[in-house]
């Protein structure tokens, strides 16, 4: 029973264009959502997060959108750069993540072509 799903295993985008990575969840008790970026042979690096009281959070080129009614979140990267090529994981938790337990999606491998 996959509570957090990333249905696209891979995405290819041209440099300078927008990358949109999607994530769906099933548990309506989730109230904190995160995106991590992972390069091969390295651990995941925290990228951006959003709590359920917001529907948008921006940090530089990265914006996360949350649609609670659809149980859907997305990560927008504008403009995309070759260095953004990595695997992106979305994750979710309950209770403001005070318990610390995260549920991860399967990941989407982004390839940004020069």
């Amino acid at each position: 029973d996959q509570q957090v799903k990333q249905n696209s295993p891979s995405l290819s985008v041209q440099e300078g264009r927008i990358s949109i990575l999607n994530c769906d969840y099933t548990n309506s008790m989730f109230d904190y959502f995160l995106w991590y970026k992972k390069y091969p042979a390295e651990g995941p690096t925290f990228l951006i997060s959003i709590s359920s009281i917001k529907d948008k959070n921006e940090d530089g080129r990265f914006t996360v959108f949350l649609n609670k009614s659809a149980k859907h979140l997305s990560l927008h990267i504008v403009p995309s750069q070759p260095g953004d090529s990595a695997v992106y994981f979305c994750a979710a938790s309950e209770g403001g993540n005070q318990g610390g337990k995260l549920i991860f999606g399967q990941g989407t491998e982004l390839s940004v072509k020069p």
């Binding site: 390295e42 651990g43 403001g96 993540n97 005070q98 610390g100 337990k101 995260l102």
Partner: protein, 114 residues
């Protein structure tokens, strides 16, 4: 910056061996986690700990145990290694008393069981 250090980047062991993976964090975090990452499956939680000498099973604890004798150190033990435990193992930590905080990951241990 939070530093989570995993003792080995690459490890090769034989079937039936007892394997120890070590993780140390330097931010006095209460919560520590062990995940494994496999292609198409994302990150799956093996065990976690909220305090010294405390442990909780995650989603896939079978064949593993953990030890937390000191706050900064969390060890994952493969009691009798099997080939299906070949994987990337990731340790993470977070501040348990503060809401809406991300987990911070180590660089991972790529474990091969022959």
């Amino acid at each position: 910056d939070v530093k989570v250090t995993q003792s080995s980047r690459y490890l090769v062991k034989r079937t039936g061996e007892k394997v120890f993976l070590e993780c140390v964090q330097d931010m006095d975090h209460e919560n520590m986690f062990w995940y494994r990452q496999d292609p198409g499956l994302g990150l799956r939680l093996i065990y976690f700990s909220y305090d010294v000498k405390m442990k909780e099973k995650g989603d896939i604890p079978e064949g593993y145990s953990v030890s937390r004798e000191k706050k900064e150190r969390f060890s994952l033990i493969l009691e009798s290694a099997s080939t299906n435990q070949t994987s990337m193992y990731l340790c993470a930590s977070t501040n348990g008393g503060t809401a809406y905080q991300p987990q911070h990951f180590g660089d991972g241990t790529r474990l091969s069981i022959l």
